[in-house]
């Protein structure tokens, strides 16, 4: 197990450099970042000179990247054009997005798994059919359409929560955006749980458990769920990273000051340092959570062993 974890960590190194390089390259292809400054700023040669110097803009692209990555490896994530440290932006905004994504995953777990289990138990009955139909609609409806509709319904029409911002704190300000963020995956978790559980129901050990007279609640909990939740855990594991990256639109609609919103602004202003810094962090979260899932596998299913 320990060797497996070490090998996985080593495999992350090329992926880490590759993804940061890819993003840095794309941001560089956006053109000269100094063109996004205001005309007044551009007429100030001293300021332009200062920016060119401090962001190594005169160096060839690959040298810029190496200098940047050298800084990152020393814990220096760089600064924005206006001098604000990228690290402080991240520290300020990361918790907001993290809280939003964690709430979304919690919604997926609670609603997705429980509705999935109930649908599997009621296979073919109306509850099963209705929940599957609703799940498909949730997969089909684009996130921003759902966002606007729920914002209007709960924020304006019913007035249960403030339509935007996070002034009301957790959970009031987070619950609707988190639901919107979770909706597509929620439907997926539901279907996955249902299908996996139905497959497990056909297994011999389930029949054995029933034959020896165990109460059906125990069969479901100790045999059914433990064997059928593995694919669900896999999915949820990479979900946290995906959701944090996908928060751009949700944060935009609900005006939540997280990293998604910051990313969008920074891409528009071509501040490569901020974009790469935040993305790097997201990639690390993504890789660590997928490693965590593979380790969790072995815990959930003793048949899986890593050597």
């Amino acid at each position: 197990m320990g060797r497996y974890v070490v090998r996985r960590l080593l495999q992350m190194i090329p992926v880490f450099f590759g993804s940061t390089f890819l993003i840095y390259f794309l941001m560089n292809a956006l053109g000269d970042p100094l063109n996004t400054l205001s005309p007044q700023q551009r007429q100030n040669p001293a300021y332009m000179e200062y920016l060119t110097q401090s962001f190594n803009l005169d160096d060839p692209f690959i040298v810029q990247y190496l200098k940047y990555i050298w800084g990152v490896l020393h814990g220096d994530f760089g600064t924005t054009f206006s001098g604000e440290s990228v690290w402080s932006i991240v520290v300020e905004r990361f918790p907001v997005t993290f809280l939003l994504a964690v709430t979304a995953v919690a919604i997926e777990i609670v609603l997705g798994i429980s509705i999935g289990i109930y649908a599997a138990l009621k296979r073919g009955k109306w509850f099963d059919n209705v929940s599957l139909a609703v799940a498909l609609v949730f997969i089909a409806i684009p996130l921003f359409v759902l966002g606007f509709t729920l914002q209007w319904l709960f924020g304006i029409k019913l007035g249960w929560v403030a339509p935007s911002g996070i002034a009301q704190g957790w959970p009031k300000s987070y619950i609707i955006p988190a639901f919107v963020l979770a909706a597509g995956s929620l439907a997926y978790v539901l279907r996955l749980t249902r299908q996996s559980l139905l497959e497990t129901f056909n297994m011999d050990f389930m029949r054995t458990a029933k034959a020896k007279g165990l109460p059906s609640r125990t069969i479901l909990r100790k045999y059914g769920l433990r064997n059928s939740l593995i694919p669900v855990v896999t999915f949820l594991g990479i979900e946290l990273g995906t959701l944090m990256g996908g928060a751009v639109i949700t944060e935009g609609i609900f005006n939540i000051p997280g990293i998604g919103q910051q990313l969008y602004t920074s891409i528009r202003q071509q501040e490569a340092v901020v974009v790469v810094g935040i993305t790097t962090l997201l990639i690390i979260v993504y890789m660590l959570s997928s490693l965590l899932v593979d380790v969790l596998y072995a815990v959930l299913d003793p048949r899986i062993r890593y050597e």
């Binding site: 498909l136 997969i139 089909a140 921003f144 990273g241 944090m244 751009v248 639109i249 997201l282 990639i283």
Partner: protein
């Protein structure tokens, strides 16, 4: 003895019921699935919107140049003149939604076809040759999957100056081929060890022939189902990108741009947003349902 002989003969007779082909079986199942018929009905409607929009609404009513849109009708509620209301420019929302189908669907089809071709090609090479080739390709796939989807699309579309349909197709394909490749790779590795592949090799078939004639047909099934479902999801993604101002741009319009334009008027005139969003959702749903029905029909394990 002769009894057994007889049994075997009937079961392998080409016109007997037991010898239907895989596709024949799939079609037999499909015809009995109500999901399939719902999606088929929706898809026929989508096809008419894309190919013959003129049958459903006159093109004049989508542009102010032809007198179809008049500011006097701005945000007019649904009435006999505007079946589903008018937007801010006074255009008929119904007619716009009909004509907005074409760019959205074309983006979905192109992105799905390209993703499947590129993904299948790369996955086939990785799975078939294994070793260094496989580990290099797998690492590249990991790198692409590490980049958050929406973020990657935003950066790409800001970087390449390719407005309209092709920019969106490029971005969606570049970010989606790794998923397709990974799926095909797994199936190819499975097929590589099968007896029929070994048989072909022992008969002296070349690598190319084995890959194209024996492995690919056996490995492609699941990715075609995924392609149909992702076709629907790509249509949704196009709308998202156009909503962010990165996809299709004026004077062209799609469901995505209509929804984006409707944002400000949403509370006053909800139909401006809900109508294109409804068209969009139903179209995406149609493709997802089709993928669902086909995958169930193609999976022998689920056969009743």
């Amino acid at each position: 003895m002769s009894d057994i002989q007889l049994d075997v003969e009937t079961s392998v007779r080409p016109d007997g019921p037991a010898s239907r082909t895989l596709l024949g079986d799939a079609w037999y199942d499909l015809r009995r699935s109500w999901i399939f018929w719902i999606s088929a009905a929706l898809l026929v409607f989508v096809l008419v919107m894309v190919v013959f929009p003129g049958l459903l609404a006159p093109q004049e009513s989508t542009s102010s140049l032809t007198g179809g849109c008049q500011l006097a009708n701005s945000l007019a509620p649904p009435s006999s003149q505007f079946k589903l209301g008018a937007d801010q420019q006074g255009c008929d929302v119904y007619a716009l939604s009909i004509y907005g189908a074409r760019p959205s669907v074309i983006v979905g089809v192109l992105a799905a076809v390209l993703t499947t071709i590129i993904g299948a090609g790369i996955g086939l090479i990785a799975g078939f040759f294994g070793g260094k080739v496989d580990s290099t390709i797998s690492r590249i796939i990991d790198i692409f999957l590490g980049v958050p989807y929406i973020l990657g699309a935003i950066v790409l579309l800001s970087a390449v100056d390719l407005p309209g349909i092709w920019g969106v197709v490029l971005a969606l394909t570049l970010l989606s081929w790794p998923t397709a490749a990974r799926l095909v790779r797994g199936k190819v590795i499975e097929a590589k060890g099968q007896d029929y592949t070994l048989a072909a090799r022992s008969l002296g078939a070349s690598n190319g022939r084995i890959m194209v004639r024996h492995i690919l047909p056996n490995a492609i099934g699941p990715s075609i189902v995924v392609a149909v479902i992702s076709l629907g999801l790509f249509i949704g993604a196009e709308a998202t990108l156009s909503y962010l101002g990165l996809g299709i741009r004026p004077p062209d319009f799609s469901w995505g741009t209509m929804i984006a334009d409707a944002q400000n008027a949403f509370f006053q005139a909800p139909w401006t947003l809900l109508v294109p969003a409804g068209f969009l959702t139903l179209t995406v749903l149609a493709f997802i349902l089709l993928g669902e029905a086909v995958s169930e029909a193609l999976d022998p394990k689920l056969r009743k």
